[in-house]
Protein backbone atom coordinates (compact mmCIF):
# COMPACT_ATOMS: atom_id res chain seq x y z
CA UNK A 1 0.00 0.00 0.00
CA UNK A 2 1.14 3.53 -0.64
CA UNK A 3 1.54 6.29 1.86
CA UNK A 4 -1.07 9.03 1.67
CA UNK A 5 0.01 11.16 4.60
CA UNK A 6 3.62 11.53 5.64
CA UNK A 7 4.62 13.75 8.52
CA UNK A 8 8.19 14.09 9.69
CA UNK A 9 9.41 16.01 12.69
CA UNK A 10 6.45 18.37 12.74
CA UNK A 11 6.55 21.28 15.15
CA UNK A 12 3.87 23.90 15.65
CA UNK A 13 3.82 26.89 17.97
CA UNK A 14 0.77 29.13 18.37
CA UNK A 15 1.33 32.87 18.87
CA UNK A 16 5.13 32.60 18.85
CA UNK A 17 7.19 35.22 20.69
CA UNK A 18 4.32 36.56 22.76
CA UNK A 19 3.13 35.91 26.27
CA UNK A 20 0.47 33.58 24.84
CA UNK A 21 3.05 31.41 23.08
CA UNK A 22 2.03 27.78 23.12
CA UNK A 23 3.78 24.76 21.67
CA UNK A 24 0.83 22.75 20.37
CA UNK A 25 2.77 20.04 18.51
CA UNK A 26 6.34 18.83 18.81
CA UNK A 27 8.39 16.20 17.10
CA UNK A 28 5.45 14.47 15.40
CA UNK A 29 6.22 11.60 13.03
CA UNK A 30 3.27 9.91 11.40
CA UNK A 31 2.48 7.95 8.27
CA UNK A 32 -0.94 6.91 7.09
CA UNK A 33 -1.44 4.31 4.37
CA UNK A 34 -3.89 4.68 1.54
CA UNK A 35 -7.35 3.40 2.52
CA UNK A 36 -6.49 3.24 6.19
CA UNK A 37 -8.88 4.10 9.00
CA UNK A 38 -6.77 5.91 11.55
CA UNK A 39 -7.97 7.12 14.93
CA UNK A 40 -6.31 9.90 16.89
CA UNK A 41 -7.07 10.01 20.58
CA UNK A 42 -5.68 12.04 23.46
CA UNK A 43 -6.74 14.17 26.40
CA UNK A 44 -8.17 17.65 25.97
CA UNK A 45 -5.71 20.13 24.57
CA UNK A 46 -3.26 17.43 23.46
CA UNK A 47 -3.11 18.82 19.92
CA UNK A 48 -5.50 16.58 17.99
CA UNK A 49 -7.42 19.35 16.26
CA UNK A 50 -4.21 21.21 15.54
CA UNK A 51 -2.75 18.13 13.89
CA UNK A 52 -5.83 17.78 11.68
CA UNK A 53 -5.58 21.42 10.68
CA UNK A 54 -1.98 20.88 9.66
CA UNK A 55 -3.02 17.91 7.53
CA UNK A 56 -5.74 20.08 5.99
CA UNK A 57 -3.17 22.72 5.06
CA UNK A 58 -4.79 25.33 7.29
CA UNK A 59 -2.01 25.65 9.84
CA UNK A 60 1.61 25.67 8.79
CA UNK A 61 4.20 24.13 11.09
CA UNK A 62 7.89 23.36 10.84
CA UNK A 63 8.87 20.01 9.39
CA UNK A 64 7.79 17.89 6.47
CA UNK A 65 4.10 17.35 5.75
CA UNK A 66 3.14 15.55 2.55
CA UNK A 67 -0.52 14.78 1.82
CA UNK A 68 -1.46 12.80 -1.28
CA UNK A 69 1.88 13.65 -2.84
CA UNK A 70 1.53 17.38 -2.16
CA UNK A 71 4.23 19.03 -0.09
CA UNK A 72 2.24 21.36 2.17
CA UNK A 73 5.13 23.71 2.84
CA UNK A 74 4.31 25.15 -0.57
CA UNK A 75 1.46 27.58 -0.82
CA UNK A 76 0.29 26.46 -4.25
CA UNK A 77 -0.08 22.91 -2.93
CA UNK A 78 -2.02 24.03 0.13
CA UNK A 79 -4.33 25.91 -2.20
CA UNK A 80 -5.38 22.90 -4.27
CA UNK A 81 -5.54 20.49 -1.35
CA UNK A 82 -9.24 21.15 -0.72
CA UNK A 83 -10.24 19.20 -3.83
CA UNK A 84 -8.83 16.01 -2.35
CA UNK A 85 -9.26 16.44 1.40
CA UNK A 86 -12.57 16.85 3.23
CA UNK A 87 -12.54 18.30 6.73
CA UNK A 88 -15.21 18.12 9.41
CA UNK A 89 -14.41 20.68 12.10
CA UNK A 90 -14.98 20.15 15.78
CA UNK A 91 -17.70 22.83 15.93
CA UNK A 92 -20.18 22.15 13.14
CA UNK A 93 -21.78 25.60 13.19
CA UNK A 94 -18.41 26.99 12.18
CA UNK A 95 -18.63 25.06 8.97
CA UNK A 96 -21.92 26.44 7.70
CA UNK A 97 -22.17 29.84 6.10
CA UNK A 98 -24.61 29.85 3.18
CA UNK A 99 -28.18 31.14 3.35
CA UNK A 100 -29.89 27.77 3.03
CA UNK A 101 -29.01 24.18 3.75
CA UNK A 102 -29.15 23.25 0.08
CA UNK A 103 -26.84 26.07 -1.00
CA UNK A 104 -24.47 25.32 1.80
CA UNK A 105 -24.04 21.71 0.73
CA UNK A 106 -23.72 22.85 -2.89
CA UNK A 107 -20.99 25.36 -2.05
CA UNK A 108 -18.08 22.93 -2.38
CA UNK A 109 -19.25 21.21 -5.58
CA UNK A 110 -19.92 24.60 -7.18
CA UNK A 111 -16.31 25.55 -6.60
CA UNK A 112 -15.24 22.34 -8.36
CA UNK A 113 -16.58 23.49 -11.72
CA UNK A 114 -19.03 20.59 -12.11
CA UNK A 115 -22.10 20.65 -14.34
CA UNK A 116 -25.28 21.81 -12.64
CA UNK A 117 -26.87 18.35 -13.00
CA UNK A 118 -23.85 16.77 -11.34
CA UNK A 119 -23.97 19.34 -8.53
CA UNK A 120 -27.65 18.63 -7.93
CA UNK A 121 -27.07 14.89 -7.96
CA UNK A 122 -24.25 15.13 -5.45
CA UNK A 123 -26.06 17.50 -3.10
CA UNK A 124 -29.18 15.34 -3.00
CA UNK A 125 -27.18 12.16 -2.56
CA UNK A 126 -25.12 13.64 0.25
CA UNK A 127 -28.17 14.98 2.09
CA UNK A 128 -29.84 11.62 1.74
CA UNK A 129 -26.82 9.85 3.17
CA UNK A 130 -26.94 11.99 6.30
CA UNK A 131 -30.72 11.62 6.50
CA UNK A 132 -31.74 15.27 6.07
CA UNK A 133 -35.01 15.32 4.14
CA UNK A 134 -36.18 17.78 1.49
CA UNK A 135 -38.22 19.74 4.01
CA UNK A 136 -34.91 21.07 5.40
CA UNK A 137 -33.43 22.21 2.06
CA UNK A 138 -34.59 25.86 2.20
CA UNK A 139 -33.88 26.36 5.93
CA UNK A 140 -31.03 28.56 7.12
CA UNK A 141 -28.30 26.29 8.49
CA UNK A 142 -28.37 28.40 11.65
CA UNK A 143 -31.95 27.35 12.30
CA UNK A 144 -31.04 23.67 12.47
CA UNK A 145 -30.51 21.83 15.75
CA UNK A 146 -26.98 21.00 16.84
CA UNK A 147 -27.22 17.43 15.56
CA UNK A 148 -28.76 18.54 12.27
CA UNK A 149 -25.99 21.11 11.82
CA UNK A 150 -23.49 18.32 12.30
CA UNK A 151 -25.22 16.28 9.59
CA UNK A 152 -25.35 19.30 7.29
CA UNK A 153 -21.62 19.90 7.72
CA UNK A 154 -20.92 16.26 6.91
CA UNK A 155 -23.11 16.41 3.80
CA UNK A 156 -21.25 19.51 2.63
CA UNK A 157 -18.03 17.55 2.69
CA UNK A 158 -19.38 14.28 1.25
CA UNK A 159 -20.79 16.16 -1.74
CA UNK A 160 -17.24 17.01 -2.77
CA UNK A 161 -16.31 13.29 -2.81
CA UNK A 162 -12.85 13.71 -1.30
CA UNK A 163 -10.11 11.05 -1.31
CA UNK A 164 -9.16 11.76 2.26
CA UNK A 165 -11.47 12.53 5.18
CA UNK A 166 -10.29 14.40 8.27
CA UNK A 167 -12.95 14.09 10.97
CA UNK A 168 -12.73 16.02 14.23
CA UNK A 169 -15.19 14.37 16.62
CA UNK A 170 -17.81 14.05 13.87
CA UNK A 171 -20.41 12.39 16.07
CA UNK A 172 -20.28 14.76 19.02
CA UNK A 173 -23.79 16.11 19.59
CA UNK A 174 -25.59 13.24 17.87
CA UNK A 175 -27.96 10.83 19.56
CA UNK A 176 -26.86 7.18 19.96
CA UNK A 177 -28.56 6.01 16.80
CA UNK A 178 -27.29 9.00 14.87
CA UNK A 179 -23.77 8.20 16.01
CA UNK A 180 -24.11 4.63 14.78
CA UNK A 181 -25.50 5.72 11.43
CA UNK A 182 -22.86 8.34 10.78
CA UNK A 183 -20.02 6.09 11.87
CA UNK A 184 -21.39 3.30 9.66
CA UNK A 185 -21.42 5.77 6.80
CA UNK A 186 -17.78 6.69 7.31
CA UNK A 187 -16.74 3.08 7.77
CA UNK A 188 -18.46 2.12 4.54
CA UNK A 189 -16.79 4.95 2.64
CA UNK A 190 -13.44 3.80 3.95
CA UNK A 191 -13.91 0.06 3.36
CA UNK A 192 -15.82 0.13 0.07
CA UNK A 193 -14.42 3.18 -1.67
CA UNK A 194 -10.98 3.13 -0.10
CA UNK A 195 -11.22 6.66 1.31
CA UNK A 196 -8.43 7.29 3.76
CA UNK A 197 -10.02 8.37 7.03
CA UNK A 198 -8.53 10.14 10.02
CA UNK A 199 -10.88 10.23 12.99
CA UNK A 200 -10.39 12.26 16.14
CA UNK A 201 -12.62 10.87 18.85
CA UNK A 202 -13.11 10.69 22.59
CA UNK A 203 -15.37 7.66 22.22
CA UNK A 204 -13.15 4.66 22.85
CA UNK A 205 -15.77 2.10 21.82
CA UNK A 206 -16.04 3.88 18.48
CA UNK A 207 -12.27 3.81 18.07
CA UNK A 208 -12.01 0.16 19.09
CA UNK A 209 -14.64 -0.93 16.59
CA UNK A 210 -13.64 1.11 13.59
CA UNK A 211 -9.94 1.93 13.52
CA UNK A 212 -7.12 0.00 11.88
CA UNK A 213 -4.56 1.90 13.86
CA UNK A 214 -4.58 4.34 16.75
CA UNK A 215 -2.29 7.27 17.47
CA UNK A 216 -2.33 8.61 21.02
CA UNK A 217 -1.31 12.23 21.50
CA UNK A 218 -0.27 13.70 24.82
CA UNK A 219 0.96 17.27 25.34
CA UNK A 220 1.58 17.68 21.63
CA UNK A 221 3.69 14.54 21.24
CA UNK A 222 2.93 11.04 19.97
CA UNK A 223 2.52 9.06 23.18
CA UNK A 224 1.73 5.68 21.63
CA UNK A 225 0.88 4.19 18.28
CA UNK A 226 -0.41 0.77 17.25
CA UNK A 227 -3.48 -1.30 16.48
CA UNK A 228 -6.41 -0.95 18.92
CA UNK A 229 -5.62 -4.27 20.63
CA UNK A 230 -2.08 -3.18 21.45
CA UNK A 231 -3.06 0.31 22.54
CA UNK A 232 -5.95 -0.68 24.78
CA UNK A 233 -3.95 -3.45 26.43
CA UNK A 234 -1.91 -0.67 28.02
CA UNK A 235 -4.80 0.65 30.09
CA UNK A 236 -2.60 1.74 33.00
CA UNK A 237 -0.49 4.01 30.82
CA UNK A 238 -3.59 5.44 29.19
CA UNK A 239 -5.17 6.03 32.60
CA UNK A 240 -2.11 8.04 33.61
CA UNK A 241 -2.84 10.61 30.92
CA UNK A 242 -6.55 10.57 31.70
CA UNK A 243 -7.87 8.22 29.02
CA UNK A 244 -10.16 5.24 29.48
CA UNK A 245 -10.26 1.99 27.49
CA UNK A 246 -13.27 0.20 25.99
CA UNK A 247 -15.21 -2.09 28.32
CA UNK A 248 -13.88 -5.29 26.75
CA UNK A 249 -10.28 -4.14 27.10
CA UNK A 250 -10.85 -3.22 30.71
CA UNK A 251 -12.26 -6.66 31.33
CA UNK A 252 -9.29 -8.35 29.66
CA UNK A 253 -6.80 -6.19 31.53
CA UNK A 254 -8.50 -6.93 34.87
CA UNK A 255 -8.60 -10.68 34.22
CA UNK A 256 -4.96 -10.65 33.23
CA UNK A 257 -4.05 -8.91 36.47
CA UNK A 258 -5.66 -11.82 38.30
CA UNK A 259 -3.42 -14.24 36.50
CA UNK A 260 -5.74 -15.42 33.76
CA UNK A 261 -4.21 -15.81 30.33
CA UNK A 262 -6.39 -13.92 27.92
CA UNK A 263 -5.93 -12.26 24.55
CA UNK A 264 -6.06 -8.49 24.06
CA UNK A 265 -9.70 -7.55 23.64
CA UNK A 266 -11.37 -4.48 22.24
CA UNK A 267 -14.89 -5.47 21.25
CA UNK A 268 -17.74 -7.19 23.06
CA UNK A 269 -17.89 -10.01 20.52
CA UNK A 270 -14.27 -10.89 21.25
CA UNK A 271 -14.95 -10.61 24.97
CA UNK A 272 -17.84 -13.04 24.79
CA UNK A 273 -15.70 -15.57 22.94
CA UNK A 274 -12.73 -15.28 25.29
CA UNK A 275 -14.77 -15.38 28.47
CA UNK A 276 -16.55 -18.42 27.12
CA UNK A 277 -13.18 -20.08 26.56
CA UNK A 278 -12.06 -19.22 30.11
CA UNK A 279 -15.22 -20.73 31.52
CA UNK A 280 -14.19 -24.03 29.93
CA UNK A 281 -15.60 -24.31 26.49
CA UNK A 282 -19.07 -23.28 27.51
CA UNK A 283 -20.70 -20.56 25.48
CA UNK A 284 -20.55 -17.12 27.07
CA UNK A 285 -24.29 -16.69 26.77
CA UNK A 286 -26.23 -19.16 28.87
CA UNK A 287 -29.82 -19.59 29.84
Amino acid sequence: MSKVIEIENLQLTYAPKTSLQRQALQNINLTVESGEFRAIIGPQGSGKSTLLQVMAGLELGLGKVVVDGLDLSQKKNRRILWQRVGVIFQQPERQLFEDSLYNDVAYGPKNMALTSEEIERRVKAALKKVKLGEEYYPLSPFKLSGGQQRRAAIAGILAMEPKILLLDEPTAGLDPRGRQEIMNLFTELCRKQGITTILVSHDMEEVAHRADKVTVLHKGKVFMEGCPQEIFARGNQLAEIGLAVPFASELANALRERGKSIANLTTLVDAEREVGRLLGGRSGRQQ
Binding site: S19, R79, W82, E93, Q95, L96, F97, D99
Partner: protein, 249 residues
Protein backbone atom coordinates in the same frame (compact mmCIF):
# COMPACT_ATOMS: atom_id res chain seq x y z
CA UNK B 1 -3.43 42.44 16.02
CA UNK B 2 -6.10 41.91 18.59
CA UNK B 3 -3.62 40.62 21.10
CA UNK B 4 -2.51 44.18 21.73
CA UNK B 5 -5.29 45.17 24.05
CA UNK B 6 -5.28 42.03 26.09
CA UNK B 7 -4.37 41.94 29.77
CA UNK B 8 -0.98 40.36 30.26
CA UNK B 9 -0.62 38.66 33.58
CA UNK B 10 2.66 39.62 35.28
CA UNK B 11 3.70 40.37 38.81
CA UNK B 12 4.79 44.01 38.98
CA UNK B 13 4.18 47.24 40.88
CA UNK B 14 2.42 48.65 37.85
CA UNK B 15 -0.05 45.75 37.84
CA UNK B 16 -0.83 46.33 41.51
CA UNK B 17 -1.52 50.03 41.11
CA UNK B 18 -5.11 51.17 41.25
CA UNK B 19 -6.61 51.43 37.74
CA UNK B 20 -7.58 55.00 38.55
CA UNK B 21 -4.02 56.14 39.08
CA UNK B 22 -2.92 54.34 35.92
CA UNK B 23 -5.70 56.02 34.00
CA UNK B 24 -4.67 59.38 35.49
CA UNK B 25 -1.12 58.67 34.41
CA UNK B 26 -2.14 57.81 30.84
CA UNK B 27 -4.27 60.95 30.60
CA UNK B 28 -1.46 63.01 32.15
CA UNK B 29 0.98 61.69 29.56
CA UNK B 30 -1.47 62.72 26.88
CA UNK B 31 -1.74 66.25 28.26
CA UNK B 32 2.05 66.53 28.45
CA UNK B 33 2.47 65.19 24.92
CA UNK B 34 0.05 67.79 23.63
CA UNK B 35 1.65 70.61 25.63
CA UNK B 36 5.07 70.38 24.05
CA UNK B 37 6.26 70.09 20.49
CA UNK B 38 10.00 70.10 21.04
CA UNK B 39 11.23 66.63 19.91
CA UNK B 40 13.69 66.45 22.84
CA UNK B 41 10.95 66.98 25.39
CA UNK B 42 8.73 64.45 23.64
CA UNK B 43 11.55 61.94 23.40
CA UNK B 44 12.15 62.26 27.12
CA UNK B 45 8.44 61.69 27.72
CA UNK B 46 8.41 58.63 25.45
CA UNK B 47 11.40 57.19 27.29
CA UNK B 48 9.67 57.73 30.62
CA UNK B 49 6.61 55.88 29.33
CA UNK B 50 8.87 53.09 28.08
CA UNK B 51 10.43 52.85 31.55
CA UNK B 52 6.99 52.49 33.12
CA UNK B 53 6.27 49.72 30.59
CA UNK B 54 9.53 48.01 31.51
CA UNK B 55 8.67 48.22 35.21
CA UNK B 56 5.34 46.60 34.31
CA UNK B 57 7.28 43.91 32.38
CA UNK B 58 5.07 44.19 29.32
CA UNK B 59 7.44 45.89 26.87
CA UNK B 60 8.51 42.61 25.28
CA UNK B 61 4.90 41.80 24.44
CA UNK B 62 4.31 45.27 23.06
CA UNK B 63 7.48 45.31 20.97
CA UNK B 64 5.65 44.08 17.88
CA UNK B 65 3.15 46.92 18.06
CA UNK B 66 5.90 49.41 18.73
CA UNK B 67 7.65 48.32 15.56
CA UNK B 68 4.49 48.94 13.59
CA UNK B 69 4.02 52.31 15.28
CA UNK B 70 7.58 53.37 14.46
CA UNK B 71 6.97 52.66 10.78
CA UNK B 72 3.78 54.69 10.98
CA UNK B 73 5.70 57.53 12.68
CA UNK B 74 8.32 57.44 9.95
CA UNK B 75 5.60 57.82 7.34
CA UNK B 76 4.29 60.84 9.29
CA UNK B 77 7.74 62.43 9.11
CA UNK B 78 7.96 61.76 5.38
CA UNK B 79 4.51 63.22 4.78
CA UNK B 80 5.50 66.36 6.66
CA UNK B 81 8.64 66.73 4.56
CA UNK B 82 6.74 66.31 1.31
CA UNK B 83 3.75 68.51 2.04
CA UNK B 84 5.04 71.16 4.45
CA UNK B 85 5.35 74.66 2.99
CA UNK B 86 8.43 75.99 4.66
CA UNK B 87 11.98 75.24 5.59
CA UNK B 88 13.06 71.64 5.23
CA UNK B 89 14.57 71.57 8.72
CA UNK B 90 11.38 72.83 10.24
CA UNK B 91 9.35 70.17 8.45
CA UNK B 92 11.55 67.37 9.70
CA UNK B 93 11.42 68.63 13.28
CA UNK B 94 7.68 68.99 13.15
CA UNK B 95 7.25 65.54 11.62
CA UNK B 96 9.45 63.95 14.26
CA UNK B 97 7.50 65.72 16.99
CA UNK B 98 4.23 64.41 15.61
CA UNK B 99 5.54 60.88 15.32
CA UNK B 100 6.91 60.90 18.86
CA UNK B 101 3.70 62.37 20.21
CA UNK B 102 1.60 59.67 18.62
CA UNK B 103 3.88 56.90 19.85
CA UNK B 104 3.92 58.28 23.38
CA UNK B 105 0.17 58.53 23.70
CA UNK B 106 -0.53 55.11 22.16
CA UNK B 107 2.15 53.39 24.20
CA UNK B 108 0.90 54.86 27.48
CA UNK B 109 -2.60 53.54 26.83
CA UNK B 110 -1.26 50.16 25.78
CA UNK B 111 0.71 49.93 29.02
CA UNK B 112 -2.43 50.90 30.93
CA UNK B 113 -4.60 48.29 29.19
CA UNK B 114 -2.07 45.47 29.30
CA UNK B 115 -1.42 45.88 33.02
CA UNK B 116 -5.03 46.34 34.12
CA UNK B 117 -7.80 43.77 34.10
CA UNK B 118 -11.06 44.64 32.41
CA UNK B 119 -13.10 43.91 35.47
CA UNK B 120 -11.01 46.31 37.54
CA UNK B 121 -11.48 49.03 34.97
CA UNK B 122 -15.23 48.43 35.07
CA UNK B 123 -15.18 48.52 38.84
CA UNK B 124 -13.36 51.83 38.99
CA UNK B 125 -15.43 53.48 36.30
CA UNK B 126 -18.71 52.52 37.94
CA UNK B 127 -17.91 52.67 41.63
CA UNK B 128 -15.43 55.51 41.79
CA UNK B 129 -16.43 57.59 38.79
CA UNK B 130 -20.15 56.78 39.18
CA UNK B 131 -20.76 55.98 35.51
CA UNK B 132 -23.86 53.80 34.90
CA UNK B 133 -22.89 50.14 35.14
CA UNK B 134 -24.86 48.92 32.12
CA UNK B 135 -23.10 51.24 29.71
CA UNK B 136 -19.65 50.61 31.09
CA UNK B 137 -20.29 46.88 30.99
CA UNK B 138 -21.53 47.05 27.41
CA UNK B 139 -18.51 49.01 26.28
CA UNK B 140 -15.96 46.85 28.02
CA UNK B 141 -17.62 43.63 26.88
CA UNK B 142 -17.54 44.67 23.26
CA UNK B 143 -13.84 45.44 23.63
CA UNK B 144 -13.34 42.05 25.19
CA UNK B 145 -15.00 40.39 22.22
CA UNK B 146 -12.70 41.86 19.59
CA UNK B 147 -10.12 39.05 19.81
CA UNK B 148 -12.88 36.43 19.92
CA UNK B 149 -14.44 37.98 16.87
CA UNK B 150 -11.19 37.92 14.91
CA UNK B 151 -10.66 34.31 15.89
CA UNK B 152 -14.14 33.51 14.66
CA UNK B 153 -13.35 35.21 11.35
CA UNK B 154 -10.28 33.01 10.93
CA UNK B 155 -12.35 29.89 11.61
CA UNK B 156 -15.01 30.82 9.07
CA UNK B 157 -12.22 31.52 6.59
CA UNK B 158 -10.88 28.03 7.22
CA UNK B 159 -14.30 26.48 6.69
CA UNK B 160 -14.52 28.18 3.32
CA UNK B 161 -10.96 27.40 2.37
CA UNK B 162 -11.49 23.66 2.78
CA UNK B 163 -14.46 23.93 0.46
CA UNK B 164 -12.54 25.73 -2.23
CA UNK B 165 -12.72 29.42 -1.49
CA UNK B 166 -9.16 30.62 -1.02
CA UNK B 167 -9.25 34.11 0.44
CA UNK B 168 -5.65 34.70 -0.59
CA UNK B 169 -6.28 34.23 -4.29
CA UNK B 170 -4.82 37.09 -6.30
CA UNK B 171 -7.92 38.45 -8.03
CA UNK B 172 -9.24 41.40 -5.96
CA UNK B 173 -12.84 40.88 -7.10
CA UNK B 174 -12.84 37.27 -5.91
CA UNK B 175 -11.14 38.39 -2.72
CA UNK B 176 -13.90 40.92 -2.05
CA UNK B 177 -16.57 38.33 -2.64
CA UNK B 178 -14.79 35.95 -0.30
CA UNK B 179 -14.67 38.57 2.47
CA UNK B 180 -18.37 39.27 2.09
CA UNK B 181 -19.02 35.56 2.33
CA UNK B 182 -17.08 35.51 5.60
CA UNK B 183 -18.86 38.58 6.96
CA UNK B 184 -22.37 37.17 6.72
CA UNK B 185 -21.96 34.05 8.83
CA UNK B 186 -19.81 36.09 11.17
CA UNK B 187 -22.65 38.47 11.88
CA UNK B 188 -25.01 35.54 12.40
CA UNK B 189 -22.59 33.81 14.74
CA UNK B 190 -22.08 37.05 16.67
CA UNK B 191 -25.80 37.63 17.05
CA UNK B 192 -26.17 34.12 18.34
CA UNK B 193 -23.30 34.66 20.71
CA UNK B 194 -24.78 37.91 22.01
CA UNK B 195 -28.08 36.17 22.62
CA UNK B 196 -26.35 33.37 24.47
CA UNK B 197 -24.36 35.85 26.52
CA UNK B 198 -27.53 37.66 27.51
CA UNK B 199 -29.18 34.42 28.61
CA UNK B 200 -26.10 33.30 30.50
CA UNK B 201 -25.94 36.63 32.31
CA UNK B 202 -29.61 36.66 33.16
CA UNK B 203 -29.54 33.14 34.55
CA UNK B 204 -26.76 34.28 36.81
CA UNK B 205 -28.79 37.17 38.09
CA UNK B 206 -27.55 40.12 36.08
CA UNK B 207 -29.50 43.26 36.85
CA UNK B 208 -31.72 41.62 39.44
CA UNK B 209 -30.39 43.37 42.51
CA UNK B 210 -27.89 45.83 43.85
CA UNK B 211 -24.37 44.90 42.89
CA UNK B 212 -21.79 44.28 45.52
CA UNK B 213 -18.15 43.65 44.73
CA UNK B 214 -15.90 40.89 45.84
CA UNK B 215 -12.76 42.94 45.34
CA UNK B 216 -12.44 46.53 46.50
CA UNK B 217 -9.66 48.20 44.57
CA UNK B 218 -7.47 49.65 47.27
CA UNK B 219 -5.98 53.08 46.91
CA UNK B 220 -2.53 52.71 48.41
CA UNK B 221 0.01 55.32 49.40
CA UNK B 222 1.77 54.61 46.13
CA UNK B 223 -1.43 55.48 44.25
CA UNK B 224 -1.70 58.82 46.03
CA UNK B 225 1.93 59.42 45.18
CA UNK B 226 1.37 58.61 41.48
CA UNK B 227 -1.65 60.87 41.23
CA UNK B 228 0.21 63.63 43.09
CA UNK B 229 3.14 63.23 40.69
CA UNK B 230 0.88 63.44 37.66
CA UNK B 231 -0.73 66.62 38.95
CA UNK B 232 2.66 68.18 39.73
CA UNK B 233 3.96 67.27 36.28
CA UNK B 234 0.98 68.79 34.55
CA UNK B 235 1.26 72.02 36.56
CA UNK B 236 5.01 72.06 35.91
CA UNK B 237 4.39 71.57 32.20
CA UNK B 238 1.94 74.44 32.08
CA UNK B 239 4.43 76.74 33.84
CA UNK B 240 7.21 75.70 31.44
CA UNK B 241 4.97 76.25 28.51
CA UNK B 242 3.99 79.72 29.73
CA UNK B 243 7.70 80.55 29.98
CA UNK B 244 8.03 79.41 26.37
CA UNK B 245 10.14 76.33 27.04
CA UNK B 246 9.67 73.07 25.13
CA UNK B 247 7.77 74.76 22.33
CA UNK B 248 9.21 75.53 18.93
CA UNK B 249 7.77 78.32 16.88
Amino acid sequence: MARVIEYIYRDSIIHQLNPLSKLAWALGVMVLALTFNDPYYLLALLISVGLVGLTGRVMKDLSGVMKGLSIFALILVLLQVVFYHGAYREAVTLGIAMGLRMMTVVLSFLVFLSTTQYKDIILVLTEKMKLPYDYVFMFMTSLRFVPTFLNEAIQVGYAQQVRGCPIDSGNPWRKMKAYIAVALPLVLISLKKAERLAIAMETRGYGSNNRTYYKEPIISTLDYFVIFLVVVLIIGAIILRCKGLGVLH
